[in-house]
């Protein structure tokens, strides 16, 4: 797919970014403990960051030398709209997870993304999302007691209340 003598859209920029990041990390690894000793905490990070910088430099050089571009277009082949939209969705999800809480954000995320990808079918999207969310809630929250951020839904109190109703008879 990625031949040796052609390069894809955006490849040069990506490789350049990796090279720059490697250099920054090399500098950061020097900051850990410098060249103090072979057994210092910074020894391996520095060696590894050096390899990163050299290899990404070679990759960049090689990519730069490729005169020809293949016929890929960045927004069509590398980052089509569907991918951008889903990336935005998950970014929104990540940002809203703590303030709103796991249950509402996940529901909104699932419904919206199923609607977007299928382009229609509200009833289907909502029912599939609810079903999936209930399963996830049972497995992660109830069985594995993973305490997801509660946000605006005080589900812990809710669970305790349900527990009291059932436990009240004992």
């Amino acid at each position: 797919m990625h031949g040796n003598h052609i390069r894809s859209a955006g490849e040069l920029v990506f490789n350049a970014a990796l090279f720059v990041i490697s250099l920054v990390l090399l500098w950061a690894s020097y900051g850990i403990s410098g060249f103090s000793s072979l057994s210092s905490p910074g020894a391996l990070p520095m060696a590894v960051a050096f390899v990163m910088a050299v290899s990404s430099g070679l990759i960049l050089l090689d990519c730069w030398r490729k005169a020809e571009r293949d016929r890929t277009r960045f927004l069509r082949d590398i980052l089509p709209p569907a991918v951008i939209v889903m990336m935005l969705f998950i970014t929104g999800y990540a940002l809203l997870l703590v303030p709103l809480g796991f249950l509402p954000v996940s529901l909104i995320f699932l419904v919206l993304s199923i609607l977007y990808l299928r382009r229609g079918g509200v009833v289907f999207a909502v029912s599939v999302s609810l079903l999936a969310l209930i399963l996830v809630y049972i497995v992660f929250r109830l069985v594995f007691t993973v305490l997801m951020p509660a946000g605006i839904v005080p589900e812990a109190e809710f669970l305790a209340a349900i527990g009291q109703i059932f436990g009240g008879g004992q």
């Binding site: 839904v153 005080p154 812990a156 109190e157 809710f158 305790a160 209340a161």
Partner: protein, 334 residues
């Protein structure tokens, strides 16, 4: 879509109403989170998972325990510190936070927390590989001095129990050793059996089974009197009285809540964990592993923490192992 939102709003409203009502009525109104500073299967984890089910019975609620590891326990400490002081998040930790300030790991230590119960204390012990050419403390020191930097001491990094014990010994005599760091006393004791390190200061509980099995040999107990578990092993405080002032010293396990937690909640938790510490399971576990049950709370626990911090931070500081002087944080000299 709209319908779902209405449903959620209803659930939310109901939940909030119940939640507040329950809270005013009785603590705990929902499950309590117990954040364990160390990984699953470690000694802190084992202690907390043994004592907590008994505390739960007294509390009449559920404590969901989670391991939150990393940063010598600092990650968990910071997490609990960031929560509301409502008694619904407990910090289940070991001694490490008392050293954070001098080790440059932030400025949150147990002074920001109210101790619920200092459950138990461990006794350190010096153990050696079976092939090591010494059997007693004096022989060991003599050998080390005759072969400077050749003897390898297992360590768990600066501030860990091995480094404190090594500093204690080095404060009264020359001790030129090479400290090889491991990420926990378990791996270090394994390395001791395989001969990758020669001597290891460890907590008795972690080493006891290997000693019983004859896989490693005990050199001396780092305490003032011998232990029931190994009655024949001399105690360093008795054989070398110059060390006696340091002891009793050892790692400990405790349950904490953030300062500002309502008094009645603290009282209820304190009662629950004090009961838990009396339970047969817990007492047996501690005795088997050579830990000493303390079950301290309130002012007693505070005093214990203050004394521990002052002794240990100054000891490490004098040994040159700290990043900042205890003086900067107003920690008094012992």
């Amino acid at each position: 879509m709209k319908k779902t939102f209405v449903k959620f709003a209803a659930v939310a409203a109901l939940g909030t109403a119940l939640g507040t009502a329950v809270f005013a009525q009785d603590y705990p109104g929902k499950e309590i989170q117990g954040i364990i500073q160390w990984g699953a299967g470690g000694s802190t984890d084992t202690v907390m998972r043994t004592v907590t089910p008994h505390a739960e019975e007294v509390l009449g609620g559920k404590v969901v325990m989670k391991n939150m590891t990393g940063g010598v326990g600092a990650i968990a400490t910071k997490f609990v510190y960031a929560q509301n002081p409502d008694g619904y998040t407990l910090l289940m930790g070991a001694e490490n936070p008392l050293l954070y300030k001098v080790m440059g790991l932030g400025d949150i230590d147990y002074s920001e927390f109210t101790p619920i119960n200092i459950l138990a204390r461990g006794v350190p012990i010096l153990v050696a590989n079976n092939d090591a050419p010494f059997d007693t403390f004096d022989e060991m020191v003599e050998y080390i001095q005759a072969h400077p930097n050749e003897v390898k001491f297992g360590s768990t990094g600066p501030g860990g129990l091995p480094s404190v014990v090594t500093s204690m010994i080095a404060s009264k005599t020359e001790l030129p050793v090479t400290q090889v760091p491991y990420d926990g006393d378990g791996p270090a004791l394994t390395a001791l059996q395989g001969g990758a390190v020669d001597v290891m200061p460890a907590v008795l509980g972690a080493a006891i089974e290997a000693i019983r099995g004859g896989r490693i040999k005990a050199i001396t107990l780092i305490d003032n009197k011998p232990t029931e578990v190994l009655p024949d092993l001399p105690a360093l405080g008795e054989t070398h009285p110059e060390y006696a002032d340091y002891f009793p010293w050892g790692p400990f396990f405790g349950v904490f809540v953030k300062n500002g937690t309502p008094d009645d909640v603290v009282a209820k938790l304190t009662e629950a964990y004090a009961e838990g510490a009396k339970s047969e399971d817990f007492v047996k576990l501690m005795a088997d592993r050579g830990y000493i049950v303390e079950s301290l709370s309130g002012q007693e626990a505070q005093d214990f923490l203050t004394k521990w911090q002052s002794l240990t931070t100054w000891l490490l500081h004098d040994a040159g192992e700290t990043k900042a002087s205890p003086e900067e944080f107003g920690i008094p000299k012992p």
